[in-house]
């Protein structure tokens, strides 16, 4: 059969998007100059790599892992030990390449542990990853030579020869190192989705039986994907080791693995860019939200529950669905419902939030007096009127939200039907 030669135009959209991504990475620290925002941006870069590598399993391979922190965490440890070896003069690697040490370590552990975990898929896979994660975490308390016990392992990233004046001492230098890694890793991971292995991985997720029929070993496909994900996870771990200059046992803990899962899913596992949104949210939530309110884990859990129930594609799918509506010029019909939904949701959340904050205040800070400030309003946590008021706001919010939701669902259904019709019409026109 003769090869088919087709004219391939430059994919302009792709160039625009990737240049914009590079530009954002370059300019972000210039726009947000404070110390806090620079550390947050640095952490975001690391989290983006970690969440994308996690999505290689969850979104692209359908493998729900509860133990991804094992690979990021062990990557961190190995990079930190390598850094200390560099500092002691035993190892001649420039500091900027240390994350690759983490990556190779993550890959090595994925080769070792993934061989056991990827023998299964679906629910058993999830349970086994969890067991392996517990195994590694329990070991971290046993082998204090490697894991550093309670205190962890710390190091100093300003070591070795400075290259063109770059010592990685100042935060901004480590930011640009991480930004460069982030850009390259995101590009590589995107490229992976386009390779034959990436495509067959999607097929393994959707219908493993058919993949076996066309002659692939699904177990090996999962294993290979797991190893590659482990490599990128290890790079993320190595970068975070350089960033914090300390690694403690909690980086391999179940909490960290759970966070990767939670935020990758919130961002959206069905689209490639979803986990990037999730990673940004992860840092915002764990740094800013946790400062703002003590109840942030509760809010997070509730948001996650409702997301799984009502928008299983995450934020990315919400964006893409509305982009589709906008492309067909229907956004104008529905924006009033969005406004209604938004306003009623704010009312409802204000009521619920006030009650939750008052309960937390009573439980944790009752020594500080009875008054809790919520959104600028002083509330008396022991007063009947503030409870009645909050309950009233909550109930009104729920009622109005339900009305707005019904109206919205109705309009949304109509618009989707119209769009389907339009697509059919265009197809027949062609």
């Amino acid at each position: 059969m003769a090869a088919v030669y087709a004219f391939k135009p430059y994919n302009v959209g792709r160039w625009v998007i990737w240049s914009a991504f590079a530009l954002i990475l370059l300019c972000a620290p210039l726009l947000f100059r404070s110390n806090l925002s620079q550390t947050m941006l640095t952490q975001m870069g690391v989290a983006i790599i970690a969440c994308l590598s996690y999505n290689m399993l969850l979104g692209q391979g359908g493998m729900l892992s509860f133990g991804h922190a094992v690979y990021t965490g062990l990557g961190s440890y190995m990079a930190m030990h390598a850094l200390n070896a560099v500092g002691a003069g035993q190892l001649g690697i420039p500091v900027s390449l240390l994350p690759l040490v983490g990556g190779v370590a993550g890959m090595g552990f994925a080769v070792l542990l993934g061989w056991v975990t990827t023998r299964k898929s679906g629910t058993p896979f999830a349970m086994i990853t969890m067991g392996v994660a517990e195994l590694v975490f329990a070991m971290s308390l046993m082998f204090s030579e490697f894991f550093g016990g309670e205190a962890g392992v710390s190091g100093n990233r300003v070591t070795g020869q400075a290259f063109m004046g770059i010592t990685f001492g100042p935060q901004i230098q480590i930011y640009y190192l991480i930004a460069a890694y982030t850009f390259v890793c995101v590009a590589l991971m995107f490229a992976f989705t386009q390779t034959p292995l990436g495509r067959i991985l999607n097929a393994v997720r959707d219908n493993p039986e058919r993949v076996e029929f066309i002659g692939y070993n699904t177990q090996r496909v999962r294993y290979l994907a797991f190893i590659i994900a482990g490599f990128f996870a290890g790079i993320a771990g190595g970068l975070s080791a350089l960033n914090f200059e300390i690694v403690t046992a909690e980086v391999v803990g179940a909490g960290r693995s759970g966070a990767y899962l939670l935020f990758t899913f919130l961002g959206g596992a069905t689209f490639f860019f979803g986990p990037i949104i999730g990673a940004v949210l992860m840092i915002i939530a764990s740094v800013l939200l946790s400062e703002l309110t003590k109840a942030w884990l509760l809010y997070l859990g509730l948001v996650f529950l409702f997301m799984v129930m009502y928008a299983p594609g995450g934020i990315a799918s919400l964006i893409m669905m509305n982009l589709r509506v906008a492309r067909f010029g229907k956004l104008r019909q529905i924006w009033t419902s969005y406004l209604g939904l938004g306003v009623t949701a704010v009312v409802m959340l204000a009521g619920a939030g006030a009650m939750i904050e008052m309960v937390y205040h009573l439980q944790l800070n009752s020594a500080l007096g009875d008054v809790v400030r919520f959104m600028g309003v002083p509330l008396n946590a022991k007063g009947v009127d503030s409870w009645v008021g909050a309950a009233f706001v909550l109930l009104t919010g729920i009622g109005l939200f339900e009305l707005a939701r019904r109206q919205y669902m109705h309009e949304w259904g109509e618009i989707q039907a119209e769009i389907e019709k339009e697509i059919k019409r265009r197809e027949t026109a062609v």
């Binding site: 629910t123 086994i128 067991g131 392996v132 759970g258 509760l298």
Partner: protein
């Protein structure tokens, strides 16, 4: 000898507690295909509800009521949340229960605080069920309840007497678990609803066509499974500690039990729970390392080998990772689990 018997009984009672949890988990899994990630959270809720109700009603009514409360919560969760996600497939179902475990943990900490609460077993269960007396002359003897002091001490210094009591809460735990095991078995095999459940396991459409409300059966099974977890919670909470971390401690172990026993196999779950319970209890009590072994065998080790971390590690230090090692070994050598029938 008495060390062996007491440790064995301790291990058995711990294993039976694990079985109380894993049986509900297995039941829900084999019925609905849902791995209830929040199962251990329901165990924790059971302990806390039991603690709260003990303050109001007393221990024995609380033992009856709290499983019902927890079961009702579980059924409500199935009805309101899990059923909505069911059409999307198994992974979102697992995720919804994962999200629930976060919410439950936060709510429990919100209501009862972040430190352990003092959940004491009732007066009747506080003592020991029986005491083993090992007399170096008279041999091994069993005394019900606590042994009187004069039996445990010898006037003659040459006579060695060791008293090993077995706590009543542990005995009670075993009793309840065995009762539960028997009644569960009777319910599933001898009653009409049990037959419907068994049929709905394999042929849900057929059962629905015969006029049974399969979603409601699912809801009942979920409620019953979480109720069992709640019962285990009351007993486990009063025997061990009632604290927010108790869900995480036991949660991963029961997943190991379910995989090791074979996904969806109730008898496999029983075997695996007892095995893991016994192994872990014995490992915790054994203070042996490779070094002591080498010394006992008369081997001479070099100084560097004596300093080796692996050589100095005692069995009791390794105990926490034994269930997970067991899991890995089972997966390598028998991927379908001890008594499982299907490859996952």
């Amino acid at each position: 000898m008495e060390f062996f018997i007491i440790s064995m009984l301790n291990g058995l009672s711990y294993g039976l507690l694990l079985f109380m949890l894993s049986s509900g988990l297995t039941l829900i899994f084999s019925m609905m295909g849902v791995l209830n990630f929040a199962h251990a959270s329901f165990y924790m809720v059971g302990a806390y509800v039991g603690y709260a109700l003990t303050g109001i009603l007393g221990f024995w009514p609380a033992l009856l009521v709290s499983p019902l409360v927890v079961g009702a919560c579980g059924a409500l969760f199935e009805r309101l949340s899990l059923r909505k996600v069911h059409p999307y497939g198994h992974v979102p179902e697992l995720l919804v229960t994962f999200g629930l475990s976060y919410v439950v943990l936060e709510v429990v900490q919100l209501v009862w605080g972040r430190t352990a609460v003092e959940f004491q077993p009732p007066e009747l269960l506080r003592g020991s069920a029986f005491t083993l007396i090992n007399h170096s002359l008279d041999g091994l003897r069993l005394v019900w309840g606590a042994a009187p002091a004069e039996l445990c001490s010898a006037a003659d210094a040459a006579v060695r007497v060791v008293c090993s009591p077995f706590p009543a809460t542990r005995a009670f735990m075993m009793l309840i678990a065995l009762l539960m095991l028997v009644s569960l078995w009777l319910l599933l095999t001898r009653t009409r609803i049990g037959l419907v459940i068994q049929a709905a396991l394999t042929h849900p459409e057929m059962v629905e066509a015969l006029g049974h409300n399969v979603p409601r059966v699912f809801m009942l099974v979920f409620g019953a499974g979480t109720g069992l977890a709640g019962l285990a919670g009351v007993i486990g909470g009063s025997t061990f500690v009632t604290e927010p971390a108790m869900a995480a401690t036991v949660g991963s172990v029961i997943f190991v039990v379910v995989v090791v026993g074979g996904m969806g196999s109730l008898s496999g779950a029983f075997l695996a729970s007892v095995l893991i319970g016994v192994i872990q209890t014995f490992a915790v009590a054994i203070d042996y390392s490779f070094l002591t072994l080498a010394r006992d065998m008369g081997w001479v080790l070099s100084a560097s080998a004596q300093d080796n971390t692996f050589a100095r590690l005692t069995v009791s230090q390794v105990a926490p990772i034994l269930p997970y090692l067991f899991l890995v070994l089972i997966l390598i050598f028998r991927p379908k689990g001890l008594l499982g029938t299907r490859e996952g």
